[in-house]
Amino acid sequence: MAKGLIRVPVREQDPKVRATNFNEVCLGYNKEEAMEEASRCLNCKNAKCITGCPVNINIPGFIAQVKEGNIEEAYKIISESSALPAVCGRVCPQESQCEGKCIRGIKGDPVSIGKLERFVADWAKENGIKPEAPTEKNGHKVAVIGSGPAGLTCAGDLARLGYDVTIFEALHKAGGVLSYGIPEFRLPKDKVVAAEIENVKSLGVKIETNVIIGKSVTIDELMQDEGYEAVFIGSGAGLPMFMGIPGEQANGVFSANEYLTRNNLMKAYREDYDTPIARGKKVAVVGGGNVAMDAARTALRLGAEVHIIYRRSEAELPARVEEVHHAKEEGVIFDLLTNPVEILTDENDWVTGIRCIRMELGEPDASGRRRPVEIPGSEFEFDVDTVIMSLGTSPNPLISSTTYGLDTNKRKCIIADEEFGKTSKEGVYAGGDAVTGAATVILAMGAGKAGAKGIHEYIMGKQE
């Protein structure tokens, strides 16, 4: 294949080494590599990649600057559209977004847009370049609930427009899933997450942690007593699901949320932190999404033999291709077309094994994926001492149940329009997983942008 058809490879930690540490797997491009990769961009007039990006970053624009070596200029172009480029460059499923639309991808590799965005954001951080704070405040107060990707984006956009923004976060650390969910080896906490949050703060956004909206204070009180004219709800979808099979209450069975929170937010993998974590010898992770891959690769780094148990085949795995590839390289074992039916325990209720049944694929279901069907009589058992359930999450009903006049649908998701995030309650906007159910970081950011636009128009409309 001609040279221009193949992307510049990105440096990574060796799989054998990285399987034993929590350092970042992907080392990213250096300036020379980034400039070379940037030169593969055809600078399309009608750039499809921009439409593939949920926050519509001017991709050919920033890449043209990288090609010339003007990294600061490239950072400014990205910052016009994105508040968290160092995060998105790392965790976006680019293959189904910007890179999926890249014309280069028709014949050869698409341009590595994500890795270039990451390079630009990391370079800006190393060189002390921060987004510029607005010169003028407009005197209006807005509250943002939740400091995950949706809330941070919404707050950043509103602050740029001159609003006085306060984010309320239930946990002791900001970042939402970026802090408690996605592991250090994919998204470094201090170097990337904390730094991006500092950038949002440098725009003038205040963050109040340890505040649970609906318990510590209600939305109505924020609006009536504390002078907030509008509220954006970006509280996510953090309620874990379990299977309801026998043995699920046993010692050694965890939700992926618990396992990852202990490890990422509470740093249980480190000796100098107090929170304990079960270091299993043989671990089964049930599920096939990105969260399942994160849990599996975490358990592996804590010293276990790890099996992913997924009821469909490899083609249907919802996780990113890159994550599945990384997990396999590190030695995670995939038991596909397999579904647990019971968790086996000893007399003290500790996990000793898992009973599974083999599946085959039938007709496509409503989601378009072929439905897994049990093969009668194919049940089998194997030994494990830890089971991590990664079956998805749904929105926590705490906010909707304590906010008068806020409508939700039957999946407990807040009902909000897509264009502006407007809910059934005046002055209250919402977006991200709280509205859609569990989705991606970048879609939540898109929704945060929409909410900021909706709130701006609402408050400015009231003035007239």
Partner: protein
Amino acid sequence: MYKIVKAEKLAANIFLMEVEAPRVAKHCLPGQFVIVKMDEEGERIPLTICDYSREKGTITIVFQPIGESTMRMSELKEGDAFMDFVGPLGQPSEFCKEDPEELKKKKIVFVAGGVGTAPVYPQAKWLHEHGIEADVIIGARNKDLIILEDEFKKVCNLYITTDDGSYVRKGMGTDVLRDLVQNQGKHYDVCVAIGPMIMMKFVCLLTKELGIHTIVSMNPIMVDGTGMCGACRVTVGGEVKFACVDGPEFDGHLINFDEAMKRQQMYKTEEGRAILRYKEGKTHHGGCGHCGGDK
């Protein structure tokens, strides 16, 4: 940071702290809890609210040092601060939602065990403030572990018992309850039991026999305390509930106590190692090869 405005040793191994947390103090009700984290490296620890002052914006917590974190916590002094202090969490006690006039028709008894005596206090106090005088039975291992006696006397009819008979009477809380109902002609509509799980289990066995509706406050392992992880799940009437959002108070006759007690043991080994590391400090050699000592 959340400043400690009062730190007091209540009994041999029980500590009280009053902490500035205005948002929590403004909204909390009896039955709810907070999660505290001492410092950057600390773990999140759930503690039931034992008293609150809306005027001062403070919350009172009472705890017993049983692990490394609570041992370190007991060394904090007035003027020190917690890095994180979040709440109020969980559902308020059922009777906070009831019509006080209806509630006045009910006879209520509390059975408190050990450090579980502290979270009974705001409930008895709340009832007293609403014109309801409940009976409270405090059971402790011995005289030195009786706490808040004077405070309780002001808000309820108090019965005290000690396992070893070193104070007032000898026996368990359950013995007192049985005596009150079977020998002293007392009738109760509701019993609230708070204490170690084993004690709550035995109260429930007795009240089932006596036909008294019983509420218990569950104390499983928790991490976030907001319903996002399920570490605190308990089986209630055959259904899985998260104690942090659905509880911590549940119908005691529906709880699977044996399962809940086994789940409490989950990190026993890790906790034991942490205590050793803390107590033995630099003298600990880590010969076990597991604890990260210097071997």
